[in-house]
Symmetry: C2
Subunit: 346 residues, 2 copies
């Protein structure tokens, strides 16, 4: 079979790799039909974080179950399934608490098992990890494209909103206009926010933010963005969502938050350690909540909304490639030609 | 009149200063009868934070109202009162939200008005800032010594516990055995915590922690302390209280917290920016909550408990001085001979 592998900064290729097999009774093998390229993959693609050369990449799989181990009960061969970016058993203390990313028996695609950008994958902890798409929708390509963001970005945006305490009537702001930021706008609207300010740098993305429910957009940077936000909101918001992961974005998120408010952050931290963040939070009693999104905790609720058509993150996909096009997908995202790349292996 | 002033690292003296007067209709003048020296004052005393030379110091006043401005309604001359370490109007958005430390009309002792270690003080925003001790207790010296910690350390420890989400049945830990850490133990017990682990370095202080309700104590440092805590609690606590303010204490607090848990922090941050704190929080979805304690939000509830004898933080005072003894009080706290110094001006 063939799969995408990383060979150093800027180098992704589609290589011949061994077929996966059931290695444990809790494994499943899934034939991947759809997957995606994630903004968080750009960290290693750009050489800004370490990754083993030759490793398989991708963490947003959807497909058809081919084979299951003896202990797998929740899915059967032929089922249309997808999986969060983290693998989780669904039964340990942390899965029961909704912190599936800290699962005692789990891990991540590309390290615990194969990366997801390939023709097939071995899925550990299949009972806990895999989510079925109900049969009625299992072959509807439009629905599947709307479901796929639940593997990561939609649930990650939702985690930002939940962590920031967004609720009915909230005034809130989203820092970042990548796929996660756009999904945070959708999530905030879904949670009933009254006013949603999207902060970004790209007009086309901010237009999507508006279509997703942003009531205001700000395209300035740094202190200018903070001042514009404060002017719009009489001094700041009670709920800020940090959806980038860089120090400057975190500073902005803290600066736009009113005393006693909360920053919900989900961007993988890069260079966030360089500022005096705690000092900034301390003086105004701003809470910092969030982290790596426990997608599996949210996916059932959000899937229901996607299936009934009241939640549709599909517009974050602005480019579609096949498996051979995955390297081009990374390039397009790296150069910001695409917000997020949909990989269609069918 | 006479008051304590700062003249550079290690140098506090009792100097002749002008008597305070009513400058605004919302001011009161209070004759100070009792005050204290705070661990947070040691930052400037040690030269680790800047403070203007010649400035008046201290922020934990209790005394008798001498005179009030025309707009002061809540207190009258003759009343026994005390005040939090921050001045607040009680009426603005942030006071109404319980974030009195961000009061739009407030400030701090020693900058907005005189420091509190002196014979008299001018109290701005007296309606919002001053808290009356009911007449029945107004001259009971034992009660007053138990009330005085409500000006700062008792409410600050309570803020750590509230911010960390401590509640009935919680398993929690307190990092730091200073007066604030000890008060956090008291606060956690008051909130119904089931298991309270106190981490410190001083046997005498950990003994007070035990008398305050700590079920376990750990006197190790760094990784050894983390390992001991994890062994005691099957892997960590859901609620950690950081009551020191230094980077190493914050790292310990994060390290001992289980995935999905919360660190409540109240130590004034010093050197906290040196680590990759956000990275440590991110992977396990640990929330960082707290900040400079909005004492005024908590003081009414806690005063009730002190007056009925169910809460007594007075044992944090291990040394008593008069006004002339204030410089000696700083020295004794700096050299850790005293946990907290009580200043009796009567």
């Amino acid at each position: 079979m063939r799969a995408a592998r990383y060979h150093g900064p800027g180098e992704i290729s589609i290589d011949e790799v061994p077929d996966p097999t059931i290695e444990s009774p809790t494994d499943a093998v899934v034939r991947v039909t759809h997957t995606a390229v994630c903004g968080s993959d750009l960290w290693f693609y750009r050489g800004e974080s370490d990754r083993e050369e030759g490793s398989r990449v991708g963490h947003e799989p959807m497909g058809i179950v081919e084979e299951v181990g003896d202990a797998v009960r929740h899915v059967r061969p032929g089922d249309r399934v997808f999986a969060p970016f983290s693998i989780s058993c669904g039964a340990c203390e942390y899965c029961r608490k909704g912190v599936h990313t800290s699962c005692e028996n789990g891990g991540f695609w590309g390290s615990m098992t194969d990366g997801a950008q390939g023709e097939q994958i071995r899925v550990p902890q299949a009972n806990g990890t895999l989510v079925r798409v109900p049969d009625r929708y299992a072959d509807d390509q439009d629905v599947l494209q709307s479901v796929l963001p639940l593997t990561d970005v939609m649930c990650t945006g939702h985690h930002a909103a939940v962590s920031a305490g967004v609720k009915e009537g909230s005034t809130c702001a989203v820092v970042g206009d990548g796929a996660v930021g756009l999904c945070a706008v959708l999530a905030a609207r879904r949670l009933g926010a009254n006013r949603i300010v999207a902060l970004g740098h790209h007009e086309d993305r901010l237009e999507i933010a508006e279509s997703f429910g942003a009531t205001d957009t700000i395209s300035a940077r740094g202190e200018a963005a903070v001042e514009e936000l404060r002017a719009l909101t009489a001094g700041g918001v009670d709920h800020a969502m940090e959806c980038v992961g860089m120090g400057a974005a975190m500073e902005t998120a803290i600066d736009i938050t009113r005393p006693g408010g909360t920053v919900g952050y989900v961007g993988v931290p890069h260079g966030v350690e360089d500022g005096d963040l705690v000092g900034s939070l301390f003086g105004k009693n701003v809470t910092l909540a969030g982290g790596v999104a426990p997608v599996r905790a949210y996916v059932d609720d959000l899937l229901e909304d996607v299936l009934q058509g009241t939640l549709d993150p599909a517009p974050v996909f602005t480019k579609t490639v096949d498996l051979n096009g995955v390297p081009e997908g990374y390039r397009a995202m790296d150069e910001r030609e695409a917000i997020k790349v949909f990989v269609d292996l069918t």
